[in-house]
């Protein structure tokens, strides 16, 4: 593995949040390397710091110790260079803008104009199968379509890195399966590096090439699993032995990390 292949490099990273009853250790001694073209999932129960870790990569939170490099530069430099697209838990589309207007928003902020904006908006709406909905307003679309529009918006800046924070968490399982399939096709088409936060074991196994199992209090990495599933996969892979074994290993990891303690 060469250095140029490393997109994210994290060494002994810790983060503490000050709170009224003492500091809370949200992340402790995180060591993680993410390679170009990987699809990496962070999985763990709530409170394990998976979203916080993603936000540190995006420079929405600052680490209190350790080092982190994104594309070989600091997260802040990477953010200012618009090195990543970020998809939030909710679509967070602006209701006063049409779908096309929402996808154009980051492009306008980048200073693009006219035809450059229009062609990128059209291309990315097509990527998420939303061509024909340009002039609809977000509130006229279903939750699944809104989230697809927000993915198109994140892709519009044409980043090599896509950060996704439980993007399908608020959707029902049927829509979620469908979007998972589409996301995999998108990943195959665009060869982007994806970092994906989830608390669903099947979703993590189905999507990922690498799975980072995290455990809470303090948030830390318990296990990193390289998936041996083929890159080309469809939903039927969830019935295979290899899939079930991976899911079992994640579940075992979560249990060993005391993730299930107070749920019993």
């Amino acid at each position: 593995m060469t250095v140029a292949d490393t997109v994210i490099d994290i060494e002994r990273l810790s983060l503490t949040f000050p709170s009224s009853d003492g500091d809370v250790l949200a992340l402790q001694d995180i060591d993680l390397t993410i390679r170009r073209g990987d699809f990496v999932s962070f999985i763990g129960p709530s409170g394990c710091g998976k979203t916080t870790l993603l936000r540190v990569i995006a420079d929405l939170e600052r680490a209190t110790a350790g080092t982190i490099l994104v594309n070989g530069i600091t997260p802040k430099q990477a953010r200012l260079a618009r090195a990543y697209g970020y998809v939030f838990q909710a679509a967070a589309l602006y209701p006063w803008r049409t779908i096309a207007g929402n996808v154009a928003l980051p492009l306008e902020i980048m200073g693009l104009k006219g035809e450059a904006v229009r062609s990128r908006v059209g291309k990315n709406l097509e990527l998420v199968n939303l061509a024909g909905f340009e002039n609809k307003y977000p509130w006229q679309l279903s939750g699944g379509m809104q989230q697809r529009a927000s993915i198109a918006r994140a892709l519009a800046v044409e980043p090599d890195l896509l950060l996704m924070d439980e993007p399908f968490g608020a959707l029902d399982e049927i829509v979620r399966d469908h979007l998972n399939e589409q996301l995999l096709q998108l990943w195959a088409k665009t060869h982007k590096t994806v970092v994906f936060v989830t608390h669903s074991i099947p979703e993590a196994v189905y999507l990922s090439s690498r799975i980072v199992v995290m455990s809470p209090r303090p948030g830390r990495i318990h296990d990193i699993i390289d998936s041996d599933l083929p890159r080309e996969r469809d939903l039927s892979i969830r019935e295979t032995q290899a899939f079930l074994q991976l899911a079992h290993r994640i579940r075992a990891g979560l249990r060993a990390g005391h993730s299930y303690d107070e749920l019993a």
């Binding site: 995006a58 838990q89 602006y94």
Partner: protein, 382 residues
Amino acid sequence: MSKPGESMTYRHPGTPARRFTYRPMERVLLPGASAFAIGGVLLHASPWFGLGLALAAFVAMWLLTQSRLSAALITGYVSAGAAWYLVAQADQPELVTAGFWCHVIAAWLLAWACVEQLAAIATQSRLYQWILGVLIPVLFGVWLLILWELVTRGLEVPQVLLPSPSQIAQRFTSSTHILWADFRQTFLKAVLIGYTIGCATGFVVAILIDRSPFLQRGLLPIGNLVSALPIVGVAPIMVMWFGFDWPSKAAVVIIMTFFPMLVNTVAGLGAAQAMQHDLMKTYAASYWQSLFKLRIPEAMPFIFNALKINSTLAMIGAIVAEFFGTPTVGMGFRISTEVGRMNVDMVWAEIAVAAMAGSLFYGAIALLERVVTFWHPSVRSS
């Protein structure tokens, strides 16, 4: 032959078609109208007129079961004709008896039934919905005027206490040039200029102090203090500072409108959610970019709230400020002097102008609000 199941209805064969039932108000209004109409006849008011009213109410009861629209039409026409007849009678004191008032109540109940039936008409057509939406309040307002007219004429209420609508209308049409001059002085100059400057500076100052929590904390309590200042205290001082003409009134309006706009805009600029701010951060958006693309659009419902509140405040401020010194023109000046000369109909004509101007002003802003904040759930749903 049709396939089994296709032509089947889910109604049980023995179930009769749904029977017509009167709405609760219809059960009261129309019998009530006929009872008062007949009661009027028994109290020696015009028998043919009373019987006609009673007959119309009975016919409407029957028509209702056929078509709400035709029932509404007949009650509407008959009550309008009755109003015309009763107003003509009200000037003859010997005809204004207990029976007369029974007939007034009967005609009014008929008109109420007409509005009830119009309101109950279910239509899918947008045009008809719009027409009904305008017609119902207009009918209601017209009947308020008719009753006002009947009471002031029939009871011979002194003009100084309450002139009749027709007297006010007469005064209105005969003094349009004075009303126009007052309107121009008070509304077109003091209100509009003061409102524009007050709202604009409130908005601009809100943006200027947006980056300074110190100024926000210092200025907003002062703002609350100033908006609590009584206008009767401020107006004379403004007259001393800016003279008798409209600038002193505009200054009062500025003081009254500035702080509501400031407070609302500051609140609106803080309305965007953390996630939307994060989104702007991931785009490396500058302060001004996220201000114009996120925070000001998000603040629009708050800003329009202030614009609507201020439209009312500005009218009140400009009119009341004229009580404290003014050239011999202006709506507030006219009201205060004509009251002194016992010309109460002129006062009411000015009130009518103020009411119309205020409503149109408010309505125009509300319309603009619907256009600008079309995306807001409160506008979207209606």
